[in-house]
Symmetry: D2
Subunit: 133 residues, 4 copies
C-alpha cells in the first residue's frame, strides 16, 4: 500500500471525499510529475529536437501543476473548496494536453510511458472532481 | 526592473498577453509564495498555536499554488489556454482565502504582511485573467 | 514497475550510475516528500500542538528538499557532479533529522509511517552517493 | 523593502544568522529560480536548439534547487545545520555551473540576464555560508 493511502488511513476523521479516490489522485499526480520531468530530459536527447519543443513545454507545465496538486491533496484536513476544484481542473486540463502531445510521439518509449502517466492523472483528477459533486 | 520583466523584454515575439500584467503576476505569485512560507514558520512560533492552524494550512496551500503559477507564467512562449486560466483562478481563490484568514490575525505583523502579499497576488491574477478575455 | 524505472530503461545510453539505485532514490524521495507533506497536516490536527512544532518544521524542509532531489535525479542525462552530490547529502541529512524526530512520536501512526519514509529515503540517497564513489 | 526582509524583521527572536544576508539569499534564490525557468522557455525558442541543450538542463536543475533553497531559508526559526549547509553548497554549485553555461551564450540577452541572476545567487549563498562559520 502506498504511503499516500497509509497516511490517509491514520486520519482520526475521514477526509471529506472517498479516501481511495483521494489516494489515487495523489499517487497519479506525484507519478505524473516524475514522468513528465524525466520525459523532458529524454526529449532533450532526441535528434529531431525542433519537433520536441511543444512536448517539452507541456511536460514542464504538467510537472509543476501535478506537483502542486499532489501537495495540496496531501493535506486533506481542510480543503479550500474553490481553489481545490480549480486546481484539479487545471491538473486534468494540462494532463490532457500533455498526454495528447506525448501520444503523438508514442513511437518513442519515453513519450509513450509519459502519455500513460498523463492519462492516469487526468482520469484520477476528474474522478475526484465528480465525487466532490 | 525585475528579472521577470527583463526576461519578458528579451522575447523575440511579444507574449500573448500584456507583458506588464504578466510580469506583475509572476512577481506577485513568487513574492506571495515566499511570504506564505515565512508566515507558516512565524505562525508556528506563536503562543496560541491552536488559533493559527487554519492560517498555517491555508499558507501552505497558497505557497504551493503560487509557486506553480509563477513557474507556468514564466514560460510565456506557449500557454495552454484552459490549464493556465484554471490555474490563475485557483491561485486567485487560494490567495483570497489565505488573505482573509491572515487579515483576521493582522495584529501580528507577519500575518499583516502576508495578507498584503496575498491581496496583491489575488489582484494580479484577476487582472491577468481579465486581460486574457 | 514504477514510472521512474520504466523511464530510465528507455534511455538510449545508460545513466552514469546504476539504474536500480537511481530509480530507488527517485521513488524514495518522491514518496518521502508526499509522506512529510501529509504528516505536517496530520500533526496540525493533534491535541498537543506545541510538542509537534519541531516535527512540522522538519517535515516542511524535508518535503522541499526531497521534491528538489526527486526532480534533479529524474534528469539523468547530465548530472552536475558537485551540485548533485551536495543535494543528495542535504537530502540524506534532512531525512535523518526528520526521521529521528518522527520516531520520537512513533506512537502516532502518521509519524511512524513518515519516519519509515524518511529512513528509506536517507538510505537510498546514501546508497546512491556510495555508488558514485 | 522585500517581503523576505519585512517578514524577518517581524520575528520575535532574531534568526541565527545576519538578517540582511539571509534576506539577500532568499531573494537571490527566488529570483534565480524565476530567471532560470524563463530562460529555459526562451532557449527552447532559439534556432540552434542543439547548442542550448546543456543550458536548458542546467537551468532546470538550478530552478529546482533554488526553489528548495528559498523555501528552506524562509523558515528561519530552526535551521537543521547540516542539511541547510549542504543545500546552500548545492545551490551555490549549480548556480556556478549554470551561470558559466549561460555566460557562454551571453550574446543572447535572456542568457545574459540569467547568468547575472545565477552569479548573484551563487554569491549570496556563499556569503551566508561564510557568515555561518
Amino acid at each position: 500500500m502506498s504511503y499516500a493511502r497509509q497516511m490517509l488511513d491514520t486520519y482520526p476523521r475521514p477526509p471529506a471525499v472517498d479516501a481511495g479516490l483521494l489516494a489515487a489522485a495523489i499517487e497519479a499526480a506525484s507519478d505524473c510529475a516524475q514522468a513528465c520531468t524525466a520525459d523532458t530530459d529524454a526529449d532533450l536527447g532526441e535528434q529531431n529536437l525542433a519537433e520536441m519543443v511543444t512536448c517539452i513545454r507541456l511536460c514542464l507545465n504538467c510537472a509543476d501543476i501535478c506537483t502542486a496538486t499532489a501537495r495540496v491533496l496531501s493535506r486533506p484536513a481542510e480543503f479550500d473548496p474553490s481553489a481545490t476544484r480549480l486546481l484539479l481542473g487545471a491538473c486534468a486540463a494540462i494532463c490532457q494536453s500533455c498526454g495528447n502531445e506525448c501520444e503523438r510521439h508514442a513511437h518513442m518509449p519515453h513519450c509513450r510511458i509519459c502519455a500513460e502517466a498523463c492519462r492516469r492523472c487526468d482520469r484520477a483528477c476528474r474522478d475526484l472532481l465528480d465525487a466532490w459533486g
